[in-house]
């Protein structure tokens, strides 16, 4: 079925099946065609719209200079006087030109429908033959068919150019290595409040509290001695190190045997980064100990090792083993024992 003749390409016909085509209806005259007054009126309407458009264009310039922005950005219904006036004047100026032109076309330009014949999309048989002959001549004269050695080595060399094209992009980023498996948390690092960076005393947390916390290394001071991170690295560690700390009745926590000493008096901490696609989790319901991700509604039970109770996530939130230091501040026992955040191919290998 690869070849079609010109006849098969002709469009379908419906002649007299079952009713014969009555042909194009007669042209009916518009009022503007036959009544000079109507015609003049339409002309005035069009010109008025164009004229009004020019007025709005001037008003746009006036509003540009008259209305302040900056401090007064939310005058006029919270939208800003400048924004509203610029938008309305520009909009009306454009609309009036558009409506004017269309009105002109509908009322005053000739409205005789014209008929144009269609032709099949394909070229004529002669053209096809000629083109094929030309292609053939080209192929013959180049000898691309007769000289497979030249042809194949060319194909090979061009294909090989794909390598440089790919390799040259290599420096887009470093290789992942095991970077995703580690965060900045380490043994003895204090938990600090995420905005102000003050360490958290275990005794300051009430039952039912949820605190958004961060590793102390993100708030370097002379006292704690952590190095100042460059911005890019800081953002990465911030994105991975975010945790939530909650306190509940110690007997409500269903801890597996190997995590029994990961909590401090009912204070328990998990990665804040959802194991689904990596949104920070934040909606906590203290009576059920459920925390919900606002992006795709994965819900985790913080009392039960943050197991998934609802939503698309597949894995519990990684838990951060907690302890207290001599001054009573919460510290991490170690880094997370598994990669935080979204799943990835080699996750279990790390």
């Amino acid at each position: 079925m690869s070849t079609t003749t010109q006849g098969e390409n002709l469009p379908a016909q419906h002649e007299a099946d079952p009713i014969a085509d009555p042909g194009l209806p007669d042209h009916t005259w518009r009022p503007t065609d036959v009544d000079t007054r109507a015609e003049k009126r339409a002309e005035r309407q069009v010109a008025a719209m164009f004229g009004l458009s020019a007025v709005f264009a001037v008003l746009f310039v006036v509003s540009y200079f008259v209305f302040d922005i900056g401090e007064d950005w939310d005058t006029v219904g919270g939208l800003g006087a400048s924004n509203v006036s610029l938008g309305v004047t520009l909009g009306l100026s454009l609309l009036l030109i558009g409506v004017g032109i269309i009105h002109w076309a509908r009322k005053l330009m000739a409205d005789h429908e014209m008929v144009e014949m269609r032709h099949p999309a394909r070229s004529s048989d002669e053209d096809r033959t000629a083109t094929l002959a030309a292609l053939d001549a080209g192929a013959q004269e180049s000898g691309i068919g007769r000289r497979p050695l030249v042809r194949n080595s060319l194909i090979g060399s061009v294909a090989m150019l794909g390598l440089p094209a790919v390799v040259v992009l290599r420096d887009l980023g470093p290789l992942p290595g095991d970077k995703l498996a580690h965060t900045i948390w380490e043994e003895g690092m204090r938990l600090v409040r995420d905005v102000i960076g003050t360490p958290i005393k275990a005794s300051d947390i009430e039952i039912g509290d949820l605190i958004n916390a961060a590793p102390e290394a993100l708030f370097p001071t002379e006292e704690n001695g952590y190095p100042v991170l460059p911005n890019g690295e800081y953002q990465v560690e911030k994105a991975k190190g975010a945790i939530i700390v909650v306190r509940m009745e110690p007997d409500e926590i269903i801890a597996p045997a190997d995590r029994e000493n990961w909590t401090v008096d009912g204070i328990i901490s998990y990665s804040k980064i959802c194991t689904h696609v990596g949104c920070p989790i934040s909606l906590y319901e203290r009576t059920t100990h459920h925390v919900l991700c606002p992006c795709h509604q994965s819900t985790f039970d913080l009392a039960d090792s943050a197991k998934v109770v609802f939503g698309p996530a597949a894995r519990p939130l990684p838990q951060l083993p907690l302890s207290v230091d001599a001054e009573g501040y919460l510290i991490a026992q170690s880094d997370f024992t598994e990669p935080i955040g979204a799943s990835y191919w080699e996750r279990e290998k790390q």
């Binding site: 085509d21 032109i101 995703l180 799943s343």
Partner: protein, 583 residues
Amino acid sequence: MSVDTSKVASSNGRNAATASKPGRASGLANWADDRLGLATAMKKNLRKVFPDHWSFMLGEIALWSFVVLLLTGVFLTLWFVPSMGHITYEGSYDQLRGVGMSEAMASTVHISFDVRGGLLMRQMHHWAASIFIAAMMVHLLRVAFTGAYRKPRELNWVIGCLLLLLGTLEGFTGYSLPDDLLSGTGVRAADGFMKATPVVGTYMSFFLFGGEFPGESIIPRLYIVHVLLIPGLLLGLIAAHMLLLVYHKHTQWPGPGRTEQNVVGFPMLPVYAAKAGGFFFVVFGVIALMGGLMSINPVWKFGPYDPTKVTAGSQPDWYMGWPDGALRIIPTGWESVIFGYTISWNVLLPILVLPPLMLTILALIPFIEAWITGDKREHHLLQRPRNAPTRTAVFVALMTFYGLLWAAGGNDIIAIRLDMSINAITYFMRVAVILGPILAFWITRRWCISLQRHDNEMLLHGYESGVILRSPEGSYTERHLPLSETRAYTLTARDRDRVFTVDGDRDAAGVEAPDSRSQRLRARLSRWMFAHNVQKPTAAELEEAHHHAAHEAELQSGLDHPVDGHQFDDHRLRDTEEVPLRD
């Protein structure tokens, strides 16, 4: 109807003006033609005929909003700083003054509050993007429901599908640029999607972000993709889309004098150029009004991106909503570890499989349909949706699937606004996305077939006039009147469906023809597509029905004068030839 044409306005002549002595304009045209030789191409195209119908305007909305996007986008680039360098905002907006943020976010706030007209351009740009994608989708549906994708326009349909994909990506890269809390959350989710790719996921993520998320490279990289790479591709594909449109000539609705062989409408110059050009200003103007009066993407309210924060009700822009819905309703725990490697079906299926699969199906539909029908002819007359019940039903099913997933993408908003359980909505959606399309398919197909029956009913027995007659015996009947010739012809100007059947799939020796298995599948699909359709009446059936109607009418008295109360409308009985029939 006769009109005294001597009164026709002089500026409105029937014939194109004939060239008199060469004026300044023709002098310029000659100068240009001496150098460019455009006259040969122009002589045919300047008066090229375009058919008229409101639905042909939908693609034009997409085209013109793209032009608005280019114009407003260029304005924004003059101030936007595509950098993730950390600075402290010190501009006019009180609530953010002194807050640390990326230069991208700070410059976006600067454009909004310290550049006059900047907020207008930002909002126009965002509104135009929404309109661009929405118009492409509605245009796609128009093309699908009328069968305009049939030969020779299949490739233009594929180009259109690519435009939709690129438009969506362009939208995503665009709204990610301000680096505000909402868009940053979207970028982080995109990072999660990439990491879910088997084998190369983490490499893709590290190469795109220049290391670990978020790094400092993603905004400049998205920026160049957004302002150069995708717009370039879009421009090229739009040009190809338009060139093919001109080459194929636009499809038209069937009607008296409108056949597969011709195109009837207004010439490009002046009418179509004026209408299309005027429409550009209308689209531009409406977008300007929206930019002035309707707030969109107020990034200063979301605040700068902070990887440890998120707001409730986080939503992507609407066109990204349907894969997000699929992502939300995937059942808990769909992840497997095979030979120590993690496969996240919960992300893979809704994001990396479903959208490309849907797009592929969409792009292939014209080819699948052509294979089933075996139709090698060109089609330039549009079909009414009812006259292709299976195709219409397939597209309504796809729309239902899309719509339900889209609603699922807003399950949190629905839960809050309607005070419903988000869990219940999610469970419902898991079932609805499967059953909904099936139900929609079935209802639509039956509906279309009923409408086909109704058309035949009108052709054979006339339309319901609303005139109730009481017979001398006291029984009531409604008077049916024949359709006008125009209407009747238009209703019948369609092909009869042919169900493809396999014959002789075994030769005399009982050997199966080489591809008879695929041909049998084709026959089954053809039967499924067409067997229930109602075909238009034949000439004999029409003749018979009209004869019958005339006989009926004779039996009813009072045919020689109009029924009381209907002397002056078109429901009166047709007593003379001059009375125009209702169209």
